[in-house]
């Protein structure tokens, strides 16, 4: 990712300190590739992150302005910032699954509800991996983690008919996609659509964690084995079979179909300021 790294990232933070074999860098690169293909420059984007692996490893990597919020709250911070920044500035958030779908779910739903112009990349390593590997809200059923030693049996946001993405769709998100790290250009194209949508976009991107998830669930930190494990459970939407956990592609595209959060507020403030009656 040399040319992308040079153009968009800071040498102090890239290469990152992620574990050997971690798939986060692949997701990160897909986001940078999408930014590049859209012709966006460093000053066009303010980059926000959360905590955990996805948050900390991407914080401060962007050459331009950046911030990292407390656990789960970055969506509320980003909405406040959205109201303050000019509409042409993009806000991209790289966060983790625990942050977005656990502690931050309330704030995430309200960001979707208000259709705030944010592009949220949820980098999903299938649980709480920076704390050593506990199950999260998208950990596949049956998976062993440090806090599900008998296999994950609690219903979560990826089991049976519950899907966090359909929840977000009904909450008002205007662009939603799901991918795995190995999707390459297909993921890049979805991220591009997400950034282009003037509204709330979320791209859920599963990535392999050999150190904690692989070692518990597969009994090995062998990177290739974990990559194959994920790939064999992923299939493009419409091509799913009984082994498919992650159907990949664009789930919902209602880009630019309803008013964007900050645009709507500024428009109404302007109307009131001009003397609208109570």
């Amino acid at each position: 990712m040399d040319y992308l790294a040079k153009k968009y990232t800071r040498p102090r933070k890239i290469p990152s300190t992620a574990c050997s074999g971690c798939g986060l860098g692949i997701n990160h690169k897909a986001v940078l590739q999408a930014i590049y293909e859209l012709g966006l420059e460093v000053e066009d984007i303010v980059w926000g992150t959360s905590i955990g692996c996805a948050g900390r490893q991407t914080f401060g990597t962007w050459k331009g302005d950046g911030f990292a919020g407390t656990h789960g709250r970055v969506y509320a911070i980003a909405r406040g910032l959205r109201l303050a920044l000019p509409s042409e500035k993009k806000i991209i958030l790289t966060v983790g699954d625990g942050d977005a779908f656990g502690i931050g779910l309330l704030h995430l739903i309200h960001a979707a509800r208000s259709n705030a112009d944010l592009t949220v990349i949820v980098n999903d390593n299938l649980g709480y991996m920076s704390t050593g590997g506990q199950y999260g809200w998208t950990t596949p059923l049956g998976s062993k983690t440090d806090s599900s030693p008998y296999g994950m049996y609690e219903q979560n946001l990826m089991s049976d008919d519950i899907d966090v993405l359909s929840m977000l769709k009904h909450a008002g998100a205007t662009f939603i996609a799901r991918h795995v790290s190995m999707d390459g250009q297909r993921a890049v194209e979805s991220i591009k659509k997400g950034i282009r949508n003037r509204g709330f976009s979320l791209i859920h991107m599963v990535y392999p964690c050999p150190t904690n998830f692989g070692s518990r669930e597969l009994g090995t930190r062998n990177t290739i084995k974990l990559y194959e494990w994920i790939e064999s459970r992923a299939a493009p939407l419409g091509e799913e079979d009984e082994n498919t956990v992650w159907a990949t592609g664009v789930y919902h595209d209602a880009s630019n179909s309803r008013p964007e959060f900050s645009e709507n507020i500024h428009k109404n403030v302007e109307r009131i300021r001009r003397g609208a009656a109570l």
Partner: protein, 391 residues
């Protein structure tokens, strides 16, 4: 100058607007709801934004986001919402984000009594978040008019110190109707002693210098300065770092920028009959101080040598007012005794310290005068059962 018969919430709204506040994120809670309502009415008229958070935690995070984008921002709540600020409050302290937060105290713990005044968050405002390694600025007005002035001052201090400032009020101050004068131009603001400070933008690259200096502009995102801010211990450039020496520098700044420059607001107090070395000094803040002041004046008429010290600047605690070795009485709207502990810490070793608590209702002037008389006669304050003085 325009005069109104209005609530403290109205006065605080006008004070915030005069100070340049153009962003308010609220969440309905008695007795701070009317401030949110009044902001939602007034802010759009002056090109400002009112927004409601999904909870108080989100409301303060929305303020943080707006402040990071350049707005002067404010939020308000009561005790049960103030504890939900613990998360963003720490973030704002660590990233040094100017904000103003109002806490209108009611009766706790938890939801307690919603429609009555209380002072249960004296210590909570000193430690509104976890982790320690910081100082906080807390100001407590005792009237609607003063609440306006303190709001303007809070915005001024927030900018210069790069920190959130809490205004600790109570239900009587925010909901009570009083005679209020609102300045209409800058000259009138100056006449009333209102001072303001503009939002400036830190150009970097050292966003977090390890110094106790004030007047360093805060981080503002979106100007391509390369600014970074996060919840981790920052390097001077804002990168996250796991290093004890870096943390020590950061903590030094968070503590000593406030401790070493508190002369900027240490004039915020009121002394009544303290010039002649009184035998009893009555200490209070907020609404109870109004009853205390009346009681002290009446006691003087009866020949009791009593004086009153009203604190407006609560934190950092103004130890300098407690040098005299005499009797002190702390009058507070709580039964557990909070301010009194700090008084006990600050006074000379041989001073006598007493506590008179009540909650949800103010003590009467008669109650207070009887208490003064008892103390001056050297009698104990012990009363019926659960009203024992022990704290």
């Amino acid at each position: 100058m325009k005069r109104y018969l209005e609530t403290g919430n109205f006065a605080i709204t006008e004070g915030a607007i005069l100070a340049g506040c153009r962003f308010f994120a609220g969440y309905p809670i008695t007795p701070a709801t009317e401030l949110a309502e009044s902001m939602s009415y007034r802010l759009p008229q002056v090109d400002g934004i009112y927004i409601q958070g999904e909870d108080e935690c989100a409301a303060l995070h929305l303020c943080i986001g707006a402040a990071l984008g350049g707005y002067k921002a404010m939020t308000a709540t009561s005790g049960p919402g103030y504890i939900l600020y613990a998360d963003p409050y720490g973030w704002a302290i660590g990233c040094e984000i100017p904000l103003v937060i109002l806490n209108s105290g009611r009766v706790g713990p938890v939801s307690g009594i919603t429609g009555a005044p209380g002072q249960g968050e004296f210590y909570l405002t000193r430690y509104p978040t976890q982790g320690g390694n910081f100082e906080t600025i807390v100001l407590a007005p005792n009237s609607a008019q003063e609440a306006m002035a303190i709001t303007v001052e809070a915005f001024y201090l927030a900018e210069r110190f790069r920190t959130p400032v809490t205004i600790l009020a109570d239900q009587l101050i925010t909901d009570g109707f009083e005679d209020i004068s609102v300045p209409e131009n800058e000259e009138e603001m100056k006449e009333m002693g209102f001072r303001t400070w503009p939002r400036k933008i830190n150009k970097g690259p050292e966003f977090y210098p390890p110094t106790d200096e004030i007047d360093i502009p805060p981080v503002v995102l979106g100007h391509n300065t390369g600014a970074l801010c996060s919840d981790w211990t920052p390097t001077e450039e804002g990168y996250d770092i796991e290093e004890v020496a870096a943390h020590h520098k950061h903590a030094y700044r968070l503590i000593y920028k406030i401790r070493n420059n508190r002369n900027l607001f240490s004039n915020l107090y009121e002394k009544t009959f303290l010039d002649d070395d009184p035998d009893l000094i009555v200490v209070s803040y907020g609404t109870p101080s109004r009853v205390v002041n009346t009681a002290v004046k009446k006691a003087r008429e009866r020949g009791l040598k009593v004086g009153a010290l009203r604190l407006i600047n609560l934190w950092p605690f103004p130890d300098e007012h407690f040098q005299k070795s005499t009797r002190y009485l702390s009058v507070e709207l709580n039964w557990d005794g909070q301010l009194v502990r700090e008084v006990q810490r600050a006074v000379p070793k041989d001073a006598e310290v007493h506590f008179l608590g009540s909650c949800g209702d103010l003590p009467t002037v008669q109650d207070l005068i009887e208490t003064f008389e008892k103390l001056l006669k050297g009698q104990s304050l012990s009363r019926r059962g659960w009203e024992l003085e022990g704290w």
